[in-house]
């Protein structure tokens, strides 16, 4: 397991659950969004959006348009040029930062609603609860761009010569590939020891997706300004959040906090149970059924495979197909007291015939 | 009535070394004033957007008005209560008040950004404004003071109008005009005297109302809804001490016999007045429980304590002591303490207590501001000296006279 993959954000699968296409099929009560009994397309009588509950757009970043030119104000007296927004690049980057909903909040299922459909282009308006278009767009961009660098100036987005940007192939605007770390060591002051986190094992072996842990990342978690370094004051709870989905971070401290930096986790070495080709494909939780507890399973097959019997067990999946002489034997004849690791031939044969020099069939 | 005091021009030598010093200080002040009018207020003052008012308002105006209170308190005592024995001090007190208020008006004008619009309050009214009330009252009161002073002028000139050259023709009509004026004033003077007292009570108290609107910007030791009452009471208490102080200084300066008897009996009134003032001041402090602020040493607590102890409690004790009342020095020192107390109170109210938000520095007057204030005070003393030399104001002991024709009493 000495190779570390380069993860490309592009290939991270985005949720592709089938969505209702008619929004009247939604499980929500109509009155959640509509204030009148029978809303029509022309008069939808919409309430202020209930952010937490509403369903939002679910497309993949691959389907997203590459560039969107934001020039709604080109006809108004304006001090700045329109913005060429690299939409696709941002859509891909958003996977670890809240997804499409980051911007397409309150989007009913079906088509993607344009910003200006909800956000008024005029600042003088009746419903002040929703920011106007200029405010909404700036807030979306500036929230991250300011965090990233406080030197961001207007002209950084409002280029005078946007036509020079290659609209067809916006590859130059993509985020470069992110190199995945092999191992992270956290020096934990409170516990006087270390937590050794094998990052690539979690993605490669334990089957974690990036956004299983990285749900609300912001650019600054990597593009960190020097002045911010001293400012990461996560609470103990926040630090544990990333692990507590799978690990018991409340009671069992010692399983992660060790006195020394620990080697990576190999099931055969650490537990004595070698995950054969069958078990290596099973998710952790498939065997470790008690949430967050990964201990206490015996190596015995019957501990998990309770319904295996002579009739339904195909011995050849272990790699050994029994020959005719042995296929009718009881399990107990060779595997005394359910010891499947050290089969014995003593029950039928004398001492001259013994496992593994003599096999009761053919190894595949 | 063997020995009557008749007010006469003193006709002493005007220039003395002291006068020359005062003159120099006055000229320095006026030079700074010139700079203010040419380059603006910012050029010579330490005022800024956080500290819009400095000593020109705190001392020249607020304290100036309070210390000119001798005019209305003596008028109330001599004319309204009709205590004839105080007759001799009324004219000097009236002159002080007249000069004092004139300089108050001048100081206001100097401090106004648009000094040439000083007449605006006459046509643009704001009945809610304490400052409007003060402005109108002071304007009216200055006029009343001038009217009260007129008989002294007419007395000087009736039968003495001697213009020269082609103006000589005007001598006779002018003389008869003066006589008519004098007769008319003699009959109606009491109207102005009462008006003077009423106006004084109004604006002395409204000066206190001025700072109430500053609200929490003013230190709680001073900020109280009864500020107008405290201002009025302190003004009334400082009136007689001012008269005592001036009279003592004037008699010393001109080598006259001090009027200890009159001043002593004036002094007996000061005690109770100061007592009432102190009672209200302490009572207010306890009702609003601001004594808490005195438990820690800050500029505010020190200034407040000094004001109360040396400006009110100590002189109160002195004015209640018989031996002090009988000694000219004792009276003088006790009066000085009261004056110091009221002066400090006005400075405290307008400058020390005022802690504006967003101030980057605290206010301290500039050289220019101090020079102008000192210059105005010097000018005032010089004018006083000139007036008493030229007009019949100070009473000097003389033989019984039966032809006292005109007096300000209206009685």
């Amino acid at each position: 397991m000495k190779f570390f993959s380069m993860l490309i954000l592009l290939i991270i699968p985005v949720l592709c659950i089938a969505q209702p296409t008619q929004h009247s099929e939604l499980k929500f009560n109509c009155s959640l969004c509509h204030s009148c009994e029978s809303p029509t397309k022309t008069n939808p009588c919409l309430k202020a959006c209930p952010r937490a509950e509403i369903i939002t757009v679910h497309h993949s970043a691959e389907e997203a348009p590459g560039y969107i030119i934001l020039d709604k104000f080109k006809n108004v007296e304006d001090n700045y040029a329109p913005v060429n927004f690299s939409h696709k690049a941002h859509a891909e980057m958003s996977v670890m930062a809240g997804g499409c909903e980051m911007c397409h909040h309150y989007n009913p299922p079906g088509r993607v609603v344009a910003c200006s459909e909800c956000h008024s282009q005029s600042r003088i308006r009746d419903d002040l609860r929703t920011p106007d278009l200029k405010g909404a767009l700036h807030r979306q961009c500036i929230d991250c761009h300011r965090l990233w660098s406080s030197d961001v100036a207007c002209a950084d987005c409002h280029h005078e010569n946007i036509t020079n940007i290659n609209k067809a192939d916006p590859v130059d605007r993509y985020h470069p590939q992110i190199e995945e770390p092999e191992r992270l060591v956290y020096d934990t002051d409170e516990m006087e020891g270390y937590v050794t986190f094998y990052h690539s094992d979690h993605t490669n072996i334990f089957g974690q997706e990036c956004n299983d842990c990285h749900k609300q990342e912001s650019c600054v978690s990597c593009h960190i300004e020097e002045q911010m370094l001293g400012n990461i004051n996560l609470s103990q709870e926040e630090k544990h959040d990333a692990c507590s989905g799978c690990h018991d971070t409340d009671g069992d401290c010692e399983s992660c906090h060790k006195e020394q930096i620990t080697p990576g986790f190999y099931h055969a070495v650490s537990t004595g149970f070698n995950l054969s080709k069958y078990h290596s494909k099973v998710e952790c939780g498939g065997c470790h059924t008690t949430p967050k507890v990964f201990k206490g399973l015996s190596g015995s097959c019957a501990a998990c495979h309770k319904n295996w019997s002579l009739e339904n067990f195909e011995h050849s999946i272990t790699g050994l197909s029994l020959d005719e002489n042995h296929s009718e034997n009881d399990c107990e004849d060779c595997h005394v007291e359910n010891d499947y690791k050290n089969p014995t031939c003593d029950n039928c044969h004398d001492e001259e015939i013994f496992y593994p020099d003599f096999l009761p069939g053919i190894m595949k | 009535m063997e020995l009557l005091h008749e007010a006469l021009p003193l006709k002493k030598k005007y220039f003395t070394p002291g006068v020359v010093v005062l003159l120099i200080l006055a000229i320095v002040g006026m030079a700074f004033l010139l700079a203010r009018f040419v380059f603006g207020l910012g050029a010579i003052t330490n005022l800024d957007n956080q500290h819009p008012w400095g000593i020109w308002i705190g001392i020249d105006v607020a304290a100036g008005v309070a210390l000119a209170a001798g005019g209305f308190t003596t008028a109330a005592l001599g004319h309204i209560m009709h205590r004839d024995k105080y007759e001799t001090i009324i004219r000097p007190a009236l002159l002080t008040a007249m000069l004092g208020y004139t300089f108050v008006a001048l100081s206001v004008a100097v401090d106004l950004g648009r000094w040439y619009s000083i007449w605006h309050p006459l046509i643009f009214w704001n009945g809610n404004s304490a400052l409007f009330e003060v402005g109108i009252c002071v304007m009216t009161y200055v006029t009343v003071l001038y009217i009260e002073f007129l008989p002294i002028v007419t007395k000087k000139f009736i039968g003495n109008v001697r213009l020269k050259g082609f103006l000589a023709k005007l001598n006779k009509p002018l003389d008869s005009l003066l006589r008519t004026l004098d007769r008319g004033l003699n009959k109606t003077m009491f109207v102005f005297i009462i008006a003077g007292v009423v106006l004084s009570c109004l604006h002395q108290s409204s000066l206190g109302t001025l700072m109430v609107i500053a609200g929490s910007k003013m230190h709680p030791l001073w900020q109280t809804p009864v500020l107008p009452l405290l201002f009025l009471l302190s003004a009334i208490s400082v009136g007689f001490p001012m008269v005592i102080m001036e009279s003592t200084l004037a008699s010393r300066s001109f080598g006259l016999k001090p009027e200890t008897e009159v001043l002593s009996s004036l002094g007996t009134i000061v005690g109770p007045l100061l007592g009432i003032y102190l009672a209200f001041k302490i009572g207010d402090m306890f009702i609003r429980e601001t004594f808490y602020y005195l438990t820690e040493v800050t500029t505010a607590s020190v200034m407040f304590s000094v004001e109360i102890i040396f400006g009110v409690v100590l002189p109160l004790r002195l004015f209640l002591t018989k031996s002090v009342l009988k000694s000219p020095q004792g009276l003088f020192i006790a009066s000085l303490l009261v004056i110091f107390g009221v002066l400090l109170n006005r400075i405290n109210n307008f400058l020390v207590a005022y802690n504006p938000p967003y101030a980057t520095s605290s206010y301290f007057p500039s050289v220019g501001e101090i020079a102008v204030t000192v210059g105005f005070i010097c000018l005032e003393i010089l004018l006083y000296r000139w007036f008493v030399n030229y007009f019949p104001i100070v009473s000097v002991p003389s033989k019984p006279a039966n032809n006292v024709k005109y007096s300000v009493t209206g009685a």
Binding site: G135, G230 | N49, H82, L112, F124, W125, N126, G215
Partner: protein, 300 residues
Amino acid sequence: MATQNRRDFLKTVSSIGIVTAGVAATPTKLKADPENILSNERNGVLVDTTVCIGCRRCEWACKKSHDMQPGSIDDYDDKSIFDIKRRPDHTTHTVINAYKGNSISKPIMLKAQCMHCDKPACVSACIVGAFSKKENGSVVWDESKCIGCRYCMVACPFQIPAFDYHKAIEPDIHKCDFCAERKGNGKLPACVEICPVEALTFGNRADLVTLAKDRIKKNPKRYVDHIYGETEVGGTSWMYLSSVDFATLDFPVLSADTAPGVSESIQHGIFAYFIPPIALYALLGGIMYISKQKSNKEEE
């Protein structure tokens, strides 16, 4: 010495009384107070300090719309200006200051300008009534009346009015006028119009209070539960939302009592239809009359 008889005295007193009463009656009929309208339709602005990015475009727009030499808009990107705290003055009617927030890279940006109080201290204080509160919420200063006494600066609880200390002739009082003129032409205030993130929300003041309460309710972690200006000094047209306690942003801690309240009560108490002064006048006249009679008797 007494040359006046009793009848003369009474005659003069009564005639003076009538004149005084007449004078006293007129101001109540004349408009003695400046315009001070508290309309339900008055505008306001809700400043969301959690949204403001400190771009200072409002400063530029304000100067531009008030002919105050705005200079180049790009000069306003200079961040070093946040090293010191500035206040509105004769060169600018609004400023943005940076305050240390919970995050170092994101300071709290705070716009300062006139709050346009519902019960303005300046309107109450001004000796000549040069300030007025308009129906649309603006508190404006009238150059033609001002005498430059700076009492408005003493009275203002937010220390907003600024003075031309450097000018010898026609020094002005400077303060935000809530773009009274632009609003009259159906436009937004210049700062509100230019704000790129709509940190400044313009609207009916009552609607803005509802909006602010709604925002706090929906984002309890983002805001402290306090709308500065909702009740301070009786309410202000400009209101603020913040993620931190307002006292840490140098906002003065003020009660709901209106700034001119106590002062005006005293003022109106002393001058209740001129009754107290007239009563005092009559009282003193009476004392004077009696004491004169007494002294005349003694002399006889």
